[in-house]
Symmetry: C2
Subunit: 198 residues, 2 copies
DNA sequence: AACTGTTCTTAACATAAGTCAATCATTTCC
DNA sequence: GGAAATGATTGACTTATGTTAAGAACAGTT
């Protein structure tokens, strides 16, 4: 099992050389996630962050009624993870269980705390890049909130199509509906209107 | 004009001593923002991040129809800023202009790039703390998205009341409505139902 | 105190989206 | 290949929320 995409990512974004990557290799935990399988979070690792080397994952919550709400899709070269540390998950709010599972057969790199410390030593510029990554994520989430609080389902769907045309092919429609905050029937109707109305 | 809250914040969260803070002082830009005034973003500073030392600010977008959508409130000891760098604001998406203005007379600390570099030298642990801060922000935004895509206005309002009971007193209701993604009339109705239905 | 502009509430009505149920299409699995 | 599960569409009906408009409460100003 290889992680060519991760190596490529580090090369082009962090400026990793092949030898630097070889130095990092022992700290990498690769995991194969077959379609439908939930990634188990390991206790002791804070954060449980993953790099998707191949495939497609989703991050979602399940409420008390069993309804799923999809918070994020992660295709190749994306990071995904439940960032809520245990401290935040106090006894008062066991309202939502967050899960990550595979929409397609996937391969992920598990990024442990050890890994974070190691890579910062090998390539100190990683810290700054990581910060930029987090900032981008925040901008991205804000954009989504902006649409959710002020735009119609149709606008949100059209934004999704523009932003992730490739996911459109790979993600079942009912999951896109969940991501957009609409029922599958609702999204179907919106698509119908777009098709005939234009 | 002083920034006692910021000093206190650095002391308790970053472990700053008074002398360390004195070393940092020359790099701090304090600004007084009277109620209603928009913070001008300065070109050349990337990010325009602020620490709210006193008062209350809001971060919001304005769409083509002139409608405001409130993305964040920031009372004392919170950070607020437009993190979208110019690169992300490309010509294809001049859809939303983001603004920050003051809901109450406020005092903010403008955190420039210079400041970031300086503080990292004075207190290296700041980097890690900053990362945790960003992570928390992400968790927070995810929680909000979770509510927006799957909960009713009533549930969102009750969550807001639980999370920010103090803001309830300080923020006009129509702004809370905007934050929750509902019209002022809609929120008024929901509050009415809560009052009589319980 | 009267004036002006906000903010909040209330009501009647309109509409987008949810729910339920049936049908059809597609994939998966013996 | 057929059966069974899953996914998408469509229609009838319901409901939550938006829209418009009016008035009430309140704040700030002269």
């Amino acid at each position: 099992m290889e992680c060519t995409n991760f190596q490529e990512y580090l090369k082009s974004n962090v400026g990793f050389s092949n030898s630097q990557f070889r130095e990092l290799l022992p700290y990498l935990e690769l995991e194969e996630i077959p379609k439908g399988k939930i990634i188990e979070s390991k206790v002791g690792y804070d954060g449980n962050l993953f790099f998707v080397d191949k495939g497609l994952l989703r991050f979602y919550s399940v409420d008390v009624m069993g309804k799923e709400r999809i918070l994020q899709f992660a295709p190749e070269n994306w990071f995904i993870g439940d960032r809520s540390n245990l401290q935040a998950m106090d006894a008062n709010s066991p309202l939502y269980a967050y899960n990550i599972d595979a929409i397609e057969d996937s391969i992920v790199v598990r990024l442990t705390k050890d890994f974070g410390e190691k890579i910062s030593k090998i390539a100190p510029q990683f810290t700054a890049i990581n910060e930029r990554l987090l900032q981008n994520h925040i901008v991205h989430l804000q954009h989504r909130i902006n649409l959710l609080i002020g735009s119609s389902v149709r606008e949100r769907y059209e934004d999704f199509v523009k932003m992730y045309p490739n996911l459109l092919q790979r993600v079942p429609q009912w999951m896109i509906a969940s991501y957009l905050g609409v029922t599958p029937e609702g999204l179907s109707r919106v698509r119908h209107n777009i098709a005939k109305g234009e």
